[in-house]
């Protein structure tokens, strides 16, 4: 057996739908087929036609890396580049075309994306973009991230932890240890929130969870024997709100269960804990105003795991201007810390995780683990259309093969894990557990802005 420090197997899994190029190269009619573009392009956008070698074939725009060399070399100036309209139409909200195409690339190659041609965006933006991670420890031995000498642990635990251990007279442990699960990565796959899924996609996710050493959340009603056979204890049923707990029959292999709850949850939680004492029970709630109080309430009821759902843009539900997960999570984290009970509870966050850096940023804001949902869909070439029905999908997601799904998801999570490793390495942190709530290692744009305002207004006062 070969030793592998980091466990995720990566291989190239091309998309099944035709690529949506960002840079669309257009060849005008005045092209003289001189072949200069073929010589100019090192990415293979321009080739002579195989059917008739004398003619240039249509440019393979998806290979274009925006270098403009063909355009400047064309003696006829017949080439032009534009940002593809299909590309611009990708996604909505925080799911920008750039994020979607980046996820596609990650799901295809499993590699850290390199955007190239310099960063021409803004240095700050709303939500997670207003949060910068401190990379000042880039000189430490961990600096080389996945290639470094020091191993960086990405393990995360799910389950309650007693605040202290009690031992008997003969040194035996007297504390009853609550059930818990350790995952190799702080990310879990959530199929219950996918806009579309079928058996193949669920099976593919289950297979991926094995490769990733993670778990996969599945709506209780969608669980099949086959799924349990594939992933066994990695399958986490998600029980919808208001289900009859008493009639619930969980498979023996189930190790963890999620219970979606609204305002009344105490009875259901109590019943479930009683029926399944060895199963990790997570309560899943919709984030909204006053979520901190709910969390504290659950803490008081000894709920070991809380899964907090934000919407697809990472916002709390509710009317008007709602908080983003970043602020919401920070507030929850602070509430727990001020109770001195942060370690007694596991917080899972989901929603609005649209890029690799959103995972460590969520963790910095106080999450123990991040649940991936829409990003998994995008990894399957989803374009995030408004009118998603599955059967009219431009990427024909409904025809996905389970092994292909497995590969794409493994690649995506692998790429995101690698980016987290790079980030941890640069921060000089050797363990992702320690990143949780490390707001000291992040810079928030509002803080700087406030500080700057103070300095400026101070200057005005005195000057």
């Amino acid at each position: 057996m070969t030793f592998e420090r980091y466990h995720i197997p990566i291989r190239i899994i091309p998309g099944r739908a035709s690529p949506v190029p960002k840079f669309v190269i257009t060849r005008a009619d005045n092209c003289v087929n001189c072949g200069k573009c073929e010589k100019a392009c090192i990415f293979g956008v321009h080739k002579r036609s195989e059917a008739d070698f004398r003619k240039m074939s249509d440019p393979l725009s998806h290979l274009c890396k925006n270098c403009f060399r063909c355009i400047s070399d064309c003696p006829q100036r017949a080439l032009s580049m534009s940002i593809g309209s299909d590309y611009k139409a990708l996604g909505r909200g925080i799911w920008t075309p750039l994020r979607i195409s980046t996820i596609w690339g990650e799901a295809e190659t499993g590699k850290i994306p390199v955007l190239g041609a310099g960063f021409r965006g803004m240095f700050a933006g709303p939500d997670y973009d207003g949060m910068w991670t401190d990379m000042s420890e880039i000189v430490r031995p961990t600096r080389d991230g996945i290639h470094g000498r020091e191993s960086i642990s990405t393990c995360a635990d799910i389950g309650g932890k007693p605040s202290r251990l009690e031992f008997g007279g003969s040194s035996e442990l007297k504390t009853v240890m609550p059930p818990s699960i350790e995952l190799s990565i702080p990310m879990l796959l959530d199929t219950s929130r996918l806009t579309y899924h079928n058996n193949a996609i669920l099976l593919g996710c289950a297979q991926a969870s094995r490769l990733l050493d993670s778990i996969v959340l599945v709506s209780e009603s969608s669980i099949t024997q086959e799924l349990l056979d594939v992933a066994g204890r990695r399958i986490v049923p998600v029980i919808s709100e208001g289900s009859d707990i008493k009639t619930l029959k969980l498979d023996d292999r189930v190790h963890m269960v999620e219970l979606s709850v609204g305002s009344s949850w105490k009875m259901a939680f109590k019943n479930l804990s009683k029926s399944y004492p060895d199963v990790v029970i997570a309560l899943r709630i919709q984030a909204s105003k006053g979520i901190e109080d709910k969390v504290l309430e659950m803490l008081d009821a000894d709920v070991p795991v809380i899964h907090i759902d934000y919407d697809d843009d990472g916002r709390e539900s509710g009317r008007g201007e709602t908080r983003h997960a970043k602020d919401s999570m920070l507030s929850i984290h602070r509430a727990l810390v001020s109770r001195g009970a942060r370690d007694r509870i596991t917080i899972i966050t989901s929603g609005g995780i649209a890029a690799a850096e959103h995972v460590p940023k969520s963790i910095i804001c106080g999450a123990d683990l991040v649940s991936l949902d829409k990003s998994l869909m995008v990894a399957l070439s989803c374009r995030n259309c408004v009118d998603c029905t599955g059967s009219t999908c431009p990427a024909s997601i409904d025809c996905s093969d389970r092994d292909w799904v497995e590969g794409r998801m493994t690649n995506l999570v692998g790429a995101w894990r690698d980016q987290m490793l790079e980030l941890l390495g640069a921060m000089g942190i050797r363990e992702v557990r320690r990143l949780r709530g490390e707001i000291g290692r992040a810079i928030f744009f509002e803080d700087i802005e406030r500080d700057m305002d103070a300095i400026l207004s101070d200057g005005e006062k005195h000057g």
Partner: protein, 664 residues
């Protein structure tokens, strides 16, 4: 083409061309005749010898389509070999060789004249000079340009433009060669103010068959003889032309008159006025109508048109005054500029036939109205609708181009029409006109040539070309397949009297001819099986495509050009069996569409090529490997690089963004 900057004196052959792509010449159909071997033994410079039947076929004609019976019955118009020379030294060496063996040498430029001057009548060796095309020197101070004889006018003009200079005069086909114009005529655009070409030449050099270069300057007694000598004296190799600074004020004007008399009257007034326009062109109403047919809708007012080209503000003011006093107003400027630009594309209207025939004569403007009237009268009795383009010349002369439409696809009609053309020609000559060029077809009218000039030319010839190898069987007498017998038909006295008799008996002749015409029109509609053969017939054979074809630049084989492919298609349609090599040659194309862009008949060439290729492929297959090798070879050629950077078609829009090519 290689352009050498102004003032830089460089030996012509310092720039040795890259070696010929041997990988393709492996495909050359090598002929083993002794002539080929003899030529191969010549050891000077770069030389390309063509001796395959397929390629020689292209040199058996020029711009005009020769009625088949004449071509096949009377003359051996297919040469035995073609030599493409790239330097004057090679030309001289070939002439020495020919002299020693008594071989008939026919010099050829771009083959864009319709009179047959560059077409063999007795086989022999065609000396293709279209690749000896360097612009040797542009002298901005002395205002001269020195070029090799194969240089094409459009290339010279383009090179001059970079120095703020332009040509003083040029033929109406800018795709013809300098040497060709020297040898055939010298009358053309701007001749009205700038005179005959001979007045615009500083010096010229001739490779004489006696084995040396002979230089002529205007003061030399033989200088004038060289112009219009039709390849009898030797081969023009180097010409130094007068050039001028580009005028800052250029303005073409278009005047449309209701009747011809007032148009000609005003033109006469203008010609003798102080306005001194650069050039005056008269276009008859039929010509104007065809121009309108070429446009998307009738834009030019119907009538008899005068195109007047004015340079300089003084002249412009004088012209305005003249217009005012005559109570005339010009047509919109854009139309004037359009028609002025179209002066280089007289063959465009040929597509309405498809086919065009007629005459080019020089006559005194005194008889111009009467001559046109007579031409029209005779034409109408021959059931033809003629059109005129008259270029005004100095000394009260004019060059009249009188055309009528014909249909090349209908052999009988075409043959009859060519006969009618003889009749029309004859009538004009009788009225006192002179043929512009003799070639083969105007030989019947060579009697109108000045006898004294002929004698002088003969004298000069005997000194320069003592063995008489140059363009045998033409000019002085015409001979062909049956020796002088075939020439006899075209002999001035015989043909002349025959035509005279026919004209005299015109009521009967005309009735016969018109009956035959009607018969042929009705029963012998052109046998056009495809759109492609129509396109091939529509082609004006002007050779514009040859000058811009990168594949031709590399291979030197005209079969790869649009004109060559037209002829290939026609040969195929006529049942000629093509060799596999010939077929495969047709595939060697860059698909650059330069030919399509430059085509004055605006033919859809690329679909035509696809059709031709699919037909050839059915018989001979397609050598994809060779095509790839060829493309890669051309791509890596520095010559091609240069050409692409310059733009394949000079003056054509290089891109679709507007602006100059390098103002990114």
């Amino acid at each position: 083409m290689h352009v050498v900057g102004a003032g830089v004196d460089r030996a012509i052959d310092a720039d040795t061309p890259p070696s010929h792509p041997t990988s393709f010449s492996a495909k050359d159909e090598v002929s083993n005749n002794t002539l080929y071997q003899g030529l191969q033994r010549l050891t000077v410079g770069s030389i390309r010898i063509a001796s395959s039947p397929g390629e020689l076929m292209l040199y058996a004609r020029d711009q005009s389509e020769i009625p088949r019976f004449l071509r096949e019955l009377m003359f051996s118009s297919v040469p035995e070999a073609v030599v493409q020379a790239e330097t004057p030294e090679v030309v001289l060496e070939v002439l020495r060789f020919a002299s020693s063996t008594g071989l008939n040498v026919i010099p050829r430029g771009s083959g864009s004249s319709p009179f047959g001057g560059s077409v063999p009548v007795n086989g022999g060796l065609v000396l293709d000079l279209s690749r000896m095309d360097k612009i040797v020197k542009i002298d901005g101070d002395a205002k001269t340009v020195t070029v090799q004889a194969g240089a094409r006018w459009f290339e010279i003009d383009h090179a001059l433009e970079a120095h703020g200079l332009s040509l003083t005069t040029s033929p109406s086909s800018k795709f013809s060669t300098v040497g060709g114009w020297v040898a055939t005529g010298g009358v053309g655009i701007n001749s009205f103010s700038r005179g005959h070409l001979s007045g615009n030449v500083v010096s010229l050099e001739l490779a004489a068959p006696r084995g040396e270069f002979v230089r002529f300057t205007p003061s030399d007694p033989g200088f004038m003889q060289v112009f219009g000598s039709e390849g009898q004296l030797g081969v023009v190799t180097i010409v130094t032309l007068k050039v001028m600074e580009i005028s800052t004020h250029q303005h073409p004007h278009l005047l449309v008159f209701d009747d011809r008399a007032s148009a000609l009257k005003f033109a006469e007034e203008l010609a003798s006025s102080e306005v001194s326009p650069v050039h005056i062109i008269f276009e008859s109403s039929v010509r104007v109508e065809l121009t309108n047919r070429l446009l998307d809708k009738p834009r030019v007012k119907p009538g008899e048109a005068l195109i007047v080209y004015i340079e300089g503000e003084e002249s412009e003011t004088a012209f305005d005054d003249l217009l005012k006093s005559a109570g005339l107003t010009g047509e919109p400027e854009y139309l004037a500029r359009y028609l002025w630009n179209e002066r280089f594309f007289p063959m465009k209207i040929r597509k309405f036939g498809p086919g065009m025939m007629g005459l080019e004569v020089i006559l005194s403007r005194k008889i111009l109205p009467a001559a046109m009237l007579e031409f029209e009268r005779l034409s109408s009795s021959l059931e033809l609708e003629p059109l005129f383009e008259v270029h005004y010349l100095p000394d009260g002369q004019a060059m009249v181009l009188g055309f009528f439409m014909t249909d090349q696809g209908n052999t009988i009609r075409y043959t009859l029409d060519s006969f009618k053309s003889f009749l029309l020609n004859k009538r004009m000559i009788d009225l006192g006109a002179k043929p512009y060029s003799l070639g083969i077809w105007n030989h019947a009218f060579s009697g109108a040539e000045d006898r004294g000039r002929k004698d002088e030319l003969r004298k000069l010839k005997s000194s320069l070309d003592p063995r008489g190898i140059m363009n045998q069987g033409k000019y002085f007498h015409l001979s062909g397949r049956m020796g002088r017998l075939s020439g006899l038909i075209m002999h001035p006295s015989l043909m002349g009297s025959l035509l005279r008799a026919m004209l005299m008996l015109s009521p009967i002749t005309m009735r016969l001819i018109s009956r035959a015409s009607r018969f042929s029109k009705r029963y012998l509609e052109p046998k056009r099986t495809s759109k492609s053969i129509r396109i091939a017939d529509e082609c004006a054979m002007c050779g514009a495509c040859v000058g811009v074809c990168p594949a031709y630049m590399i291979l030197g084989d005209e079969r790869v050009t649009a004109r060559g492919k037209m002829l290939t298609y026609k040969a195929m349609a006529n049942g000629v069996t093509l060799s596999k090599e010939h077929a495969h040659r047709s595939f060697l194309c860059m698909r650059c569409k330069a030919c399509e862009q430059v085509c004055q008949s605006k033919l859809e060439l690329i679909p035509f090529y696809d059709e031709l290729e699919s037909q050839l492929e059915r018989v001979h297959g397609k050598d994809a490997e060779e095509i790839e090798r060829f493309i890669r070879f051309v791509e890596s050629s520095p010559q091609y690089d240069e050409l692409v950077e310059r733009g394949l078609v000079i003056g054509a829009p290089k891109h679709n963004h507007g602006g100059a090519p390098h103002d990114i």
